[in-house]
């Protein structure tokens, strides 16, 4: 038997608790970026979002939702105006980007069970795909919002470009939430049934059905604990009122997004190597 002095292409050894080597993890993740786009595309196709009526539903669904909530606001307050409706649609659509990331993320890892049991790849690809899917579903609603805004005669302003950094912060937050919840779901499979209560609570605590200016100072003080509050507040200021966002809100929103993203990624990455034995 000829023994060769070649170097192994792969070495597998016991791992210490904590993070995997981040550079090689990132390389493996980056080399599989086509998986993420392809996976999102086929998931969307699977839900018929490539057909005319599928896309119509993508737009109709948030429109109907905003209509229902607007009805609620009108009944509770007794009166309303177009500005309020524009605010409601703007914030509701961004809220649904985050909440769709959560509901898509919760089954991301457990739904990929077969793939996880049979191939070695960075598991974080699965929750990332869930966020990309939520983003694909968000873009048409953004267009709908801009149309509503124009039709109702809300003036445009260059400050609206602040929406781009706010959207980026929202994406970091969505990624963090999807990564965290997908990991928790491996250990507690019934977490999905608690999600509707969680998202509903966050919705009512966030400035969607009302504007932050209508809240009392006492309540506002506690809203620093809601990661979505500064985000949705800034979003409304920028896109509805055409004003620059408050820097303090932006920083709090960014801080929350980074904390959730980093903590979630740490939990996920240090746990993902044992996902395969948890199925």
């Amino acid at each position: 038997m000829s023994s060769s002095i070649q170097t192994p292409t792969q070495v597998y050894e016991p791992f210490r608790a904590g993070l995997p080597p981040l550079i090689s993890y990132w390389k493996a993740l980056w080399s599989r970026r086509t998986f993420i786009t392809e996976f999102s595309r086929s998931e969307l196709r699977d839900k018929h979002f490539d057909s005319f009526f599928g896309q119509l539903w993508l737009i109709l669904n948030p429109l109907l939702l905003s209509g229902v909530y607007f009805l609620l606001v009108v009944i509770i307050r007794g009166n309303s105006d177009s500005q309020r409706y524009v605010h409601l649609t703007a914030t509701l659509f961004l809220f649904y980007l985050i909440s769709n990331s959560l509901t898509g993320g919760v089954k991301a890892v457990t739904g990929g069970q077969r793939l996880i049991l049979n191939s070695a790849f960075p598991r974080v690809m699965l929750p990332i795909s869930a966020v990309i899917i939520a983003l694909f579903r968000f873009f048409p609603t953004l267009v709908v919002f801009l149309i509503i805004r124009t039709v109702l005669g809300v003036p445009f302003a260059w400050q609206m470009f602040w929406a781009i950094p706010i959207l980026l912060i929202a994406l970091i937050l969505s990624l963090g939430l999807a990564i965290t919840i997908s990991c928790i779901n491996v250990y507690f499979r019934d977490i999905a049934s608690f999600l509707p209560y969680l998202t509903r609570t966050i919705l009512y605590l966030s400035p969607v059905l009302y504007e932050s200016s209508s809240l009392s100072r006492r309540v506002l003080r506690f809203e620093i604990l809601n990661p979505l509050f500064p985000l949705l507040d800034s979003w409304s200021r920028v896109l509805v009122h055409g004003q620059a966002p408050q820097m303090s809100s932006m920083l709090i929103a960014l801080g929350w997004a980074l904390v959730i993203f980093l903590a979630g990624s740490y939990i996920f990455l240090s746990r993902e190597r044992e996902f395969a034995v948890r199925f």
Binding site: V11, P14, A276
Partner: protein, 267 residues
């Protein structure tokens, strides 16, 4: 890792996989489906919610190029766990595994992770997850469809597939990718007699092609025919390793199973 690295001229008898002192212990939940409810119950009763499983103990194993290693053992002997450790899916608890070459990580159940997608999408996604590029997969697509004999069914959702079609596609993917090291877990009993013959021929072809094959199966007749080597695992330890007929005979004596037709049948 690239699955399609060019094979060197002759690698026969060179080491493909070296497993040293491999141990695998893990804890998993007692419940089949761990939930908050179940955890709360076990807290209330003071029972444990996880159990520790020692899947592999002190396994030493070398696989050489140009050889076919069959892995046998009763259910729960640790065969699949060992395959997953070699493929890098589960990290070992003790020991060291060195792999010299590309491993096909498309094990038997690798394709079809999403039953509502078509066979085509599943093959593409499985390949992309394993680190192949889209071009590499598309180049082989024709061959995969031809080999699996699925025809138009490749574009139907995988939930409409029969179990035979399912495993035919899985085997076709694994065998067409042409990795240096191919791991086949319980996928030999695929479909009808005709396809079985065809897949056996493909395995022999790969063997003469200087690749390393590791086959987990309960089909003793097939293993006697195609393997150069058999490793017998029991309760996580390597009991015997050696010449196919002798090892399989010892295993069957151990099981008190006469070499009847039934034990040679594929399960």
């Amino acid at each position: 890792m690239n699955l399609l690295s060019v094979s060197k001229s002759s690698k026969t008898n060179e080491i493909a996989v070296s497993v040293r002192n491999l141990g695998l212990t893990y804890s998993t939940s007692v419940e089949r489906r761990p939930t908050i409810k179940a955890r709360a119950k076990s807290l209330g009763r003071g029972t444990k919610h996880t159990r520790v499983i020692q899947a592999l103990k002190n396994v030493d194993l070398d696989v050489e190029y140009g050889h076919v290693l069959g892995v046998i053992g009763s259910n729960g002997a640790g065969k699949s766990s060992m395959m997953r450790v070699i493929a890098g899916i589960i990290p070992p608890t003790n020991g060291r595994i060195e792999v010299f070459g590309s491993v096909s990580t498309l094990l038997a159940l690798g394709v079809g992770f999403n039953p509502s997608m078509s066979g085509r999408d599943n093959v593409l996604l499985g390949g992309l997850a394993a680190g192949m590029t889209r071009d590499q997969i598309e180049d082989r697509f024709e061959e995969i469809v031809d080999f699996s004999e699925l025809g138009d069914a490749i574009d139907a959702p995988m939930k409409t597939y029969s179990s035979g079609m399912y495993s035919r596609l899985a085997f076709s993917v694994a065998a067409t990718v042409r990795p240096d090291i191919l791991i086949i877990d319980e996928a030999l009993s695929t479909g009808d007699a005709k396809f079985k013959e065809k897949s056996l021929n493909r395995i022999k072809e790969l063997r003469s092609d200087d690749r390393a094959l590791i086959i987990v199966s309960h089909a003793m007749g097939v293993l006697r025919e195609i393997c150069n080597d058999i490793a017998w695992l029991d309760k996580g330890t390597l009991v015997q390793r050696g010449e196919p007929n002798a090892t399989i005979d010892a295993y069957q004596d151990f099981l008190h199973v006469k070499r009847s037709a039934a034990s040679d049948e594929d399960v």
